[in-house]
Subunit: 224 residues, 2 copies
């Protein structure tokens, strides 16, 4: 009488929880669900045709990621990011990138250095053709290489996480005039320093690069 459950019709890639987590994360970072908005478990479960259990678990994960705030017995809300907190995240990102750049300059293998240089040079064509989304892919790859090159799993993890949390706020950065070329020149400085094995210069260049992105994004955010 109680649970005549229907079998799962659709075989999904991962688990339902993973699916829900991605679904909700997307909607939050793209702004479809706005900061402060209530995330009602029952409505979400109905809306995506699952039970409350995976929704609850997904909300837990999102809360751990900082995308969602949870108040005991009161439900979950899309996290509100204050300008101050946003600034602190950008500053942290700048410091993490600086560390990675320094360590990369000191530790990258010959192969890693070559890879960094090749990919960086390849991305120049997208600057010339002003292909923002293509450039963004290379940009992502570039930073990932820097994190990996540090040869430190934990800091790579921290940097990756922080970067993904900042993703929604960096989204619009290239709309600012000439940003693409400017970004590339900044990358150029980092690459040069890393290839020269100059950790200090690499750190400074990386920190400045991210700091400038942060400023640009802050300008954009406040315009919005």
């Amino acid at each position: 009488m109680t649970q005549p459950r229907k079998p799962r019709e659709l075989v999904r890639a991962g688990t339902t929880v993973d699916h829900m987590t991605r679904l909700l994360a997307d909607r939050i970072v793209t702004g479809i669900m706005r900061p402060g908005e209530k995330l009602d478990e029952i409505s979400l479960a109905r809306r995506f045709d699952v039970s409350r259990t995976p929704v609850r678990e997904a909300l837990g994960h999102l809360a751990a990621m900082g995308l969602v705030e949870r108040r005991p017995n009161r439900g979950a809300f899309v996290a509100t990011v204050t300008p101050a907190h946003l600034a602190s995240m950008f500053e942290t990102m700048a410091e993490l990138e600086a560390i990675c750049a320094r360590l990369s300059a000191e530790r990258m293998t010959a192969q890693e250095r070559r890879g960094l240089e090749i990919e960086h040079c390849a991305s120049a064509q997208f600057v010339r053709s002003d292909a923002e989304s293509d450039y963004e892919l290379f940009n992502q790859d570039f930073h990932t290489r820097l994190y990996r090159g540090a040869h430190n799993a934990h800091i790579c993890d921290l940097a990756t996480r922080t970067r993904s949390r900042l993703a929604p706020f960096r989204r619009a950065q290239f709309r600012i005039d000439g940003r693409l070329a400017k970004s590339w020149r900044e990358h150029e400085q980092i690459v040069t320093a890393v290839l020269a094995g100059d950790g200090v210069a690499a750190a400074v260049a990386a920190r400045d690069h991210v700091t400038l992105v942060g400023v640009a994004s802050a300008v954009f955010a406040s315009e919005d």
Copy 2:
């Protein structure tokens, strides 16, 4: 027939999930539950007299914290930390502390500086009396002040989390002869630099301090 649920007898402080999370985290970091050990949801639920739901949620939180590894459809295990990964965490900790120390030197308010100095001086008595556990409390407080003093919520968060993940490995550090006095002298250097507003010196002192702790712990871990 199905759910004649008994009312909750004991009113606990937080939610059951929080309780379970703390309980399991304690058992993991204190080594009662050993790395690689399987964490069976059913057994845990029975053992602590709750249902599987809060156990599952707690395991999720612990996985997010890195204390537990989860394999889909295969259960949860106490996370195994390889020496390499441990080293990477200590190195990251050293870099994070260095950043916090630098920013603290630049940004702490007069009141925060005073507080840091007073607490540091007060802790000297525990060095003289060789009171390890008392000193450890002050030590914790000291580092927390450095994180807070950076005036950057996000980096404070990263530092605090990383520190708590390293806690079990730092536990035994003071067993090494003279470590207490050595730690205090290292703190002294950090305090001096911070009070002088010398960010670079503070960063160097903080990085060295943590690096030495890491080395000491590594020695201990390999002895074990």
